[in-house]
């Protein structure tokens, strides 16, 4: 619920800001709420000097902003979009785009919070420019985007390219598991189902997408996220198994994507029968 209420609080300052900022801010606060809860429950401890002697153990207990894991994995996989593209991400039905929308801008904003402090973050929060929307001249949109980028430069005090370089350096320093890197690639690969076009094609013939297909898609996506430990800072004990207890591997997930793509093609054919 912190996510939803963050939207409400944000609406005090920006009626309709850019989706990447809206979702980035709204996704950031719950991560800290979760961290605070872990601290209260005694399941998380602050780093101490002794941690330097046992880096592996220390890393297990220390909190990492979960969206950093997605962003760092995408960076390592070579699929992290440039910062200007990150800030102008919009909603879509594409699996990877949606996952990015809720995690990559969050990682950037989390980095600003960590590096520049909460006042800088809240300054940006309060002064997000309005999104001009899809209607308008290209020149107007370009001008609006410059205002958006300028907001970040004004409050961080560094050019956007420098901010991006700093953020990437921080992400590159993270010790990311290979399964996380594989997971972001798999999430991107899920887009081969072309869900958006499929739903549109079915709709033109008055048909609806098979709910079993949707459910299979959702389960596969959830398994990929669990396999890569992308949604929580620490991997859950059964992160390498499906809800049914089957073992998750990159190969098995990739095969399931292939099957889903085949299924999607079959649905495409039926859409025009």
């Amino acid at each position: 619920m912190v996510h939803e209420y963050s939207h409400l609080v944000h609406a005090l300052h920006a009626r309709a800001t850019y989706p990447a900022l809206a979702e980035g801010f709204a996704s950031l606060a719950p991560e800290y709420a979760r961290r605070d809860g872990l601290k209260r429950a005694g399941e998380l401890r602050e780093a101490t000097a002794d941690d330097a002697d046992d880096a592996d153990d220390a890393q297990e207990d220390q909190w990492v902003l979960p969206p950093h894991i997605t962003a760092a994995s995408a960076l390592e996989a070579g699929i992290l979009p440039p910062i200007r593209q990150v800030l102008t991400l919009v909603h879509s039905r594409q699996s990877w785009n949606q996952w990015m929308l809720y995690s990559v801008p969050t990682s950037l904003l989390g980095f600003i919070d960590e590096e520049y402090g909460r006042p800088t973050l809240t300054d940006i929060f309060r002064h997000c420019p309005e999104n001009p929307g899809p209607i308008g001249q290209a020149a107007d949109i370009g001008s609006a985007h410059r205002e958006l980028f300028g907001t970040f430069e004004r409050y961080t005090g560094v050019p956007l390219d420098e901010l991006e370089a700093q953020w990437h350096r921080r992400l590159a320093e993270m010790n990311i598991d290979s399964s996380s890197v594989a997971a972001v690639k798999l999430l991107k690969d899920l887009d081969r189902t072309e869900m958006t076009s499929l739903i549109w094609a079915l709709g033109t013939g008055g048909k609806k997408l098979d709910p079993n297909f949707l459910q299979t898609f959702a389960e596969l996506q959830a398994d990929i996220v669990r396999f890569g430990s992308l949604s929580v800072s620490a991997a859950t004990p059964d992160s390498d198994t499906t809800a049914d207890g089957a073992r998750l591997t990159e190969e098995s997930l990739s095969e399931r994507i292939d099957h889903l793509v085949e299924w999607a093609r079959e649905l495409w054919r039926k859409a025009y029968e």
């Binding site: 996510h3 939803e4 209420y5 963050s6 409400l8 609080v9 606060a29 709420a33 309060r126």
Partner: protein, 192 residues
């Protein structure tokens, strides 16, 4: 400022394993069962006549599974908040109920917890929902250092027509109680 935000939250009965997994993911934000009150607080509530016919935007549908309480099959809530500027609108609301959210246009600066007609959550569950909502709003306000201009009313919608035991807990009010143009009530759930 004119803005409308609507969120639909759906909790469904989950298989045991999924519920256990979800518990691990949400245990970091435990619920406490006290509800903060402010007996002296007041909140302005506008009537239907002040509502606008601006289109509503549903921005997110999100599963909440933390309420795995026995006999709770599903709870759907719509949380809505109107900006203060909404009162400036003289347009008359159209009381059509949205087929997806079962929401009908309503007032200023309030959060609506919409419970579908076919669900009858216990008072304990409602208190948990209200408390979680209150805590969540407070956290968001603290985190961003911005506070809503008015205390928010948590409005229990549809509860009035339910058979059985659905009673809005302290801090929540029934939709059926809002028949006048303007009402004031004490004890807003999250007023300081």
């Amino acid at each position: 400022m004119h803005f409308v935000t609507a969120i639909t939250l759906v909790a469904e009965r989950l298989p045991q394993k999924a519920r256990a997994r979800d518990h691990r993911n949400t245990r970091a934000f435990p619920l406490r069962r006290q509800i903060r009150r402010n007996p002296g607080g007041k909140v302005y509530v506008s009537g239907y006549q002040e509502d606008s016919i601006r289109s509503k935007a549903i921005i997110l549908a999100r599963a909440i599974r933390r309420f795995g309480i026995a006999r709770l099959a599903a709870v759907a809530m719509v949380l809505m908040l109107w900006g203060a500027g909404a009162a400036a609108s003289a347009a008359v609301a159209q009381r059509t109920v949205d087929q997806v959210t079962r929401y009908t246009s309503i007032g200023n600066d309030r959060v609506i917890l919409l419970i579908p007609d076919d669900i009858c959550p216990s008072e304990e569950t409602q208190q948990l929902l209200l408390h979680t909502a209150t805590e969540s709003l407070r956290y968001a306000e603290d985190f961003f250092g911005s506070r809503l201009s008015h205390p928010v009313v948590h409005l229990w919608l549809n509860a009035v027509d339910k058979p059985g035991s659905v009673t809005p807990p302290d801090g929540g009010i029934r939709a059926g109680d809002l028949q006048g143009d303007r009402r004031e009530r004490s004890s807003p759930p999250n007023a300081e």
